[in-house]
Amino acid sequence: MKSTPLSSISQPSGRTLPGLDLFMQLSRSLLLPVIGILLFLFIWFNGARMIHTSLGEFPGPVQVWEQTTNLVAEHQQEHQREQDFYARQEVRNAQTLAANPEAKVTIRPYTGKPTFLDQIVTSLVTVLSGFVLASLIAIPLGILIGLNESVYAAVNPLIQLFKPVSPLAWLPLVTMVVSAVYVSQDPAFSKSFLTSMFTVLLCCLWPTVINTAVGVANVSKDLLNVSQVLRLGVLTHVFKIIVPASLPLMFTGLRLSLGIAWMVLIAAEMLAQSPGLGKFVWDEFQNGSSNSLGRIMVAVLAIGLIGFMLDRSMLFLQRKVSWDKNAIMR
């Protein structure tokens, strides 16, 4: 915000105004969010002490911070153990080979428990695979539906029917189908990964399909006339006119989809016990130690933070791709 000329005229001591402006700006972008977070921590700290569960006190900020450092430390220990494990094997193999050059040596894979950080990586990979695959289906489908009213009429009831379906309803079906269909001697992907991924895919298709279709159907008549007068071919028409024109709504759909994908994934992992953050939460819940609730709270915060960062990265991508740099994006 700039100081208006009017205020600098009306106030002779207008020199202090830019300073005030800077203060206002800083307070809006920094001070107020910090106040909000501090207020939340205060309420959390005091509220948590009042809740007593069978696993002890509800975790407050302090316990959560302790568990965060614990989880990171555990990850480092586990990682060290893994490295040691492989190092020992190599030494042993080298000795065997030295004694007998003909000997067959193998490296056994490490079978330690995945740590919190490993689970985060697993979840991220799963959600992004599901989301990318869903987008690859949803965007062309949305464009087709938006371009052609007959296709829209045919597909719309199905979209409306499947859109509200909870991921948990799909999960058993997906699990069974993956087990039945994906049979291979040397699987490239684990079945649990595929189950989670397809569940995510089925749930996060719809916002992108719908928003893309709406964007495409609402491309300005003038631009369509231009395309007609130029006799653009179908592909040129789609890539030069339709896609750029519907990009803003397409991205709205993609961001909604990614948000849904992340929520769905956690639930699916919990229910199906497939590796990931959801399983971590469930395992801790079953574990029931005095640290469990704190560790679950760490996971909750991590899930939120990752969801936020996923959304921001989509926004960043939209800014990169979009032609309308003036559009307000939040």
Partner: protein
């Protein structure tokens, strides 16, 4: 007169809930090559519909359009349209907007370098070479319309169709663009059909003014030949008796014989202000 573009008994019906609405009824018009024809009439009289039928964006229900003795039934770049609201693609620069048209029309006929030269040449015709890399939201309304004209000219159209090309511009910008258009028309000898609400614009630019009756079932009311010699200078013409006679003729058609009857109150008011409207034609164009 050699017939270049022929509209023969063109009628069009639009479906409405109660049946069919006849928007145009038996519009017949022959246009010679290189002629500049304006369509003038009140809002809703179907001027744009005539233009869209020639463009191929609408299909006539009866009758048809012939261009060089071939029937028009689909849009095509040989009948380029300059749209009222420029219709540039907002994600492309001025250069790229023209390029899209040039690539489409001259694919395989011009080399890359020739295309580039042709694009620049057309942007130069409308004096827009200084803004090649500007996007539509970075230039003024008048500039956008210039680029729109450049895009249409770059298609080397047989007929240039202009749908109120300067309607959304302020009076000064409009005058500049009218002058540019007159120069371009003198140089290239395009055949032009232009829709306008502006009586001065019509008289200044046209060889003929086609005056349309009010709808429904609108048709051609009168055709006025403007045989003022070219080049025409707006300042000199302002005092020219013939120019004023033509203007008077159009105004009396629009405001006496084809007065738009909105409702009784408006009609009474229009009657009171009729004299004023004739005296102040600028007001007419501003009040469209």
């Amino acid at each position: 007169m050699k017939k270049y573009l022929q509209l023969s008994e063109v009628s069009i019906d639009f479906p409405i809930p109660k049946g069919l609405f006849r928007a145009l009824d038996k519009v017949s018009l022959d246009i010679a090559q290189g002629e500049f024809v304006s369509l003038i009439g009140h809002s809703g009289c179907g001027k744009s519909t005539v233009l869209n039928i020639v463009a191929g964006l609408h299909q006539a229900t009866e009758g048809g359009v012939l261009l060089e003795d071939r029937e028009v039934n689909a849009p095509g770049p040989e009948r380029a349209v300059v749209f009222q609201n420029h219709s540039l693609l907002p994600w492309l620069t001025a250069y790229e907007n023209v390029e899209l048209a040039v690539k489409q029309v001259f694919k395989g006929k011009k080399s890359k370098a020739e295309m580039r030269e042709w694009i620049i040449h057309n942007l130069d015709l409308v004096q827009m070479t200084h803004a090649l890399d500007k996007r539509p939201d970075e230039i003024s309304g008048g500039m956008k319309q210039r680029v729109g004209i450049a895009r249409a000219l770059a298609m080397e159209p047989k007929v240039l169709l202009m749908d109120e090309p300067f309607g959304a511009l302020d009076a000064l910008t409009r005058a500049h663009l009218q002058d540019s258009l007159m120069e371009i028309h003198a140089d290239l000898g395009n055949t032009v059909i232009m829709i306008t609400h502006d009586v001065d614009e019509a008289v200044l630019l046209s060889d003929r003014i086609v005056m349309m009756t009010n709808g429904p079932a609108a048709t051609i009311g009168e055709i006025l030949h403007i045989d003022l010699e070219r080049p025409r200078k707006r300042v000199e013409l302002a005092g020219d008796a013939r120019y004023n006679h033509f203007r008077q003729a159009v105004l009396s058609f629009l405001y006496e014989r084809q007065r738009k009857v909105e409702d009784f109150g408006a009609q009474k008011k229009a009657h009171e202000h009729e004299h004023e409207a004739v005296a102040a034609p600028l007001k007419v164009s501003a009040a469209k």
